[in-house]
């Protein structure tokens, strides 16, 4: 069934189709519609789930984790300040191997208050052990929720599905809503390898001495390293059943490209239009949209970028006192590779400043007219 829905509702439908069993969430602009629709679904019986209307995001995540450890499939959604308030519990979810799936609407961190798109909220959780997917369309949002459960539950690692504030969360697009029965076939019920039950009592998360801690974290990393292949595998399976492919990255005209944008989120969608424009100008441009950011898709990024002489990484975020985060990570991934493209870093769109085709034109003009990296942060759109 096709429906015109907003990005937030694509999250709700994703959770519904995945048969989330426990939802605990707290409202925050621009996430509210996610939980409002889920509340309604729970109220009218469309979704058989317990909805815990907690008093803060810290409790939202805590409740999800408790339910997850009890063996339930759990969902939540938040944004910016809410995500930040969960920070401790994000570490917890990953260290405790609790496969929660969460939507996060990318919004700028206060102060001053901003409710607009900016990746600093989710990217400043890059070290918490969560799988992170960045989406570029409402269809992708819905599909990713379902895939995320599959990946997360297989490896017992939580997933965050990230969408830009307003540009995706509040934007209505046509979305194909898959059949429940097909989804059920793709995604079996959650059946974790361990759980809280008096029938087989274990204590989870007790004091872990220096004798043991490191091995447990080693295992987490080793399982994380399995994610990219699993994303490809589950993505292909999804394609077979639903006709849409979900991979680690989205390549647009990268094959013959001589200049590649590295993008994420909705900017990675607009970038396609910019690539078309550049191609019309005779420039062999391409767009590499990073969909799976954690774990970092090393192989994909390396193999694609190794083929081009020039790369422009776009960051809607910045690690203050360092660079844009995608820029930093792409450079790190490319260090020591046989091929060493010129990699330029651009910061744009902080706090909801629009990223337009003009922004990409400016980026391309900059990158194509230089033969070395003079500045490591090129600010796009700052009134100087």
């Amino acid at each position: 069934m096709k429906k015109v829905i907003m990005g937030n509702h694509a999250l709700s439908y994703g959770a519904m189709l995945s048969r989330a069993q426990v939802i605990a969430a707290y409202p925050i602009t621009p996430q509210t519609q996610v939980v409002e629709l889920l509340s309604e679904m729970c109220a009218d019986g469309t979704l058989n789930a317990k909805f815990i209307k907690v008093e803060s995001e810290h409790s939202a995540m805590a409740a999800c984790l408790g339910a997850s450890l009890a063996g339930a499939r759990t969902f939540t959604a938040t944004s910016a300040q809410g995500l930040a308030l969960m920070h401790e519990m994000l570490h917890w979810a990953a260290g405790g191997r609790m496969p929660v799936v969460m939507g996060n609407i990318n919004r700028a961190m206060a102060p001053g208050w901003s409710i607009w798109a900016d990746q600093n909220d989710s990217l400043s959780e890059r070290d918490t052990g969560w799988i992170q997917f960045y989406c570029a369309s409402n269809q992708e949002v819905l599909d990713t929720v379902i895939q995320a459960y599959k990946v997360s539950e297989k490896l017992m690692i939580p997933s965050m599905i990230v969408l830009d504030a307003f540009t995706l969360s509040h934007t209505y697009e046509v979305v194909e809503i898959p059949d429940q029965s097909l989804v059920d076939q793709y995604l079996p019920p959650f059946n974790p390898p361990w759980r809280l039950t008096p029938d087989d009592p274990h204590a989870f998360g007790g004091l872990t001495s220096p004798d043991h801690y490191m091995e447990l974290r080693y295992k987490l990393q080793k399982d994380m390293e399995k994610v990219p292949a699993l994303v490809e595998e589950t993505g292909k399976e999804y394609e077979k059943m639903f006709g849409r492919y979900l991979g680690q990255v989205e390549e647009y005209l990268c094959d013959d490209a001589e200049f590649i944008f590295v993008t994420s989120g909705t900017a990675g969608s607009t970038a396609r239009v910019a690539v078309d424009e550049l191609r019309q100008r005779g420039i062999k441009a391409g767009n590499l949209r990073i969909r799976l950011f954690r774990p970092f898709p090393f192989e994909k990024v390396r193999s694609i970028l190794s083929r081009v002489p020039r790369v422009a990484v776009l960051d809607r975020n910045i690690s203050y006192g360092h660079h844009g985060i995608f820029y930093q990570e792409v450079k790190s991934a490319m260090y020591g590779q046989p091929s060493q493209p010129l990699i330029f870093g651009f910061i744009a769109g902080l706090g909801g400043r629009d990223i337009t085709r003009d922004s990409f034109r400016e980026i391309a003009d900059y990158a194509l007219s230089r033969d070395r990296v003079e500045e490591e942060i090129v600010w796009i759109g700052v009134k100087k």
Partner: protein, 298 residues
């Protein structure tokens, strides 16, 4: 004491806590858990946030309890328990009791909001706070349960605690939850009975357990029960129940209350107090006692 000369049968012999745990000698908190589980039975899941009990239970890969435990984050005893309960319910298990088991710090302070949230939603959990009146696991810092006059490492003798103990019972009573009780390790029958009773009620149940801590109170390990008993006998810690947010019952009526000084003098944390300060404390105890009687319509 006199009443207890025959082996009571109300308390099950079955043990759900094994010896070998890591509590200090004479730890009231460890006895509290032993008794609570005797009331609740094995089909109980315990959520333990950061507190002494997170250590007492033993390190990975061990545990001293025979019930499942979720060692959860410090602020999350209540919210974790709510989550566990929701998970159980949606999976069809309506029988297993979910116990949040936190210290006073995790209850009066950093976990208060999550507790208040669960109580407002009337989530179906039992929340037990073992009150040792300070952050003990981190080495005796003041909590809002630390009583007026007490020394802790963050209320040094020169600037002992000046604020009164937070009235958590009053706060929880305002939430109108179906069951609230106080219990003391010095009165095991009463305590076990209350946990049994709580298990049979639905909604949020709150039990506050007085659990002396020799390490933090600078008291002798063998005085743990004596102190807990004196707390009741002086009226400092009355044994009560509040049912349906309304009905207050005083479980142990006292003909005569012992002077609070008797209780204070056994504890190093009060050593610095002057006669006047002790008198002031006595007065506060008297006032609170009068109010408790009033609420219990006595």
């Amino acid at each position: 004491m006199s009443k207890e000369k025959k082996m009571t049968t109300t308390i099950t012999r079955e043990e759900f806590m094994s010896p070998g745990h890591l509590a200090c000698q004479g730890c009231g908190a460890s006895l509290a858990m032993r008794l609570a589980l005797k009331g609740l039975g094995q089909r109980t899941i315990v959520c333990i946030p950061a507190c002494c009990w997170a250590v007492i239970d033993g390190p990975f890969p061990y545990s001293s309890l025979d019930v499942p435990i979720y060692h959860c984050a410090f602020e999350t005893a209540a919210s974790s328990a709510s989550g566990v309960k929701a998970g159980l319910e949606i999976l069809g298990d309506n029988e297993t009791a979910v116990l949040a088991w936190a210290g006073d710090g995790g209850t009066y302070d950093i976990g208060l909001q999550a507790l208040s949230g669960a109580a407002e939603r009337n989530d179906d959990i039992i929340y037990a706070c073992y009150d040792n009146e300070a952050y003990m696991n981190t080495g005796i810092q003041r909590s809002s349960a630390t009583p007026f006059g007490a020394w802790t490492t963050t209320t040094p003798v020169k600037h002992y605690k000046k604020e009164r103990k937070k009235d958590i019972i009053g706060i929880m009573a305002a939430h109108g939850i179906p069951y609230i009780a106080t219990a003391s390790v010095a009165y095991p029958e009463d305590m076990v009975k209350k946990f049994k009773k709580a298990r049979e009620i639905r909604g949020t149940r709150f039990i506050l357990i007085f659990a002396p801590c020799p390490a933090g109170w600078k008291s002798r390990p063998e005085d743990t029960i004596k102190l807990a008993r004196l707390a009741v006998q002086t009226g400092y810690f009355p044994l009560i129940e509040i049912e349906k947010g309304e009905k207050w019952t005083l479980n142990l009526k006292l003909k005569e209350r012992k002077p609070i000084a008797e209780y204070l003098k056994l504890q190093g944390r009060f050593r610095h107090l002057s006669e006047e300060e002790i008198a002031a404390i006595q007065q506060e105890v008297d006032e609170r006692w009068a109010k408790t009687l009033q609420k219990c319509s006595l």
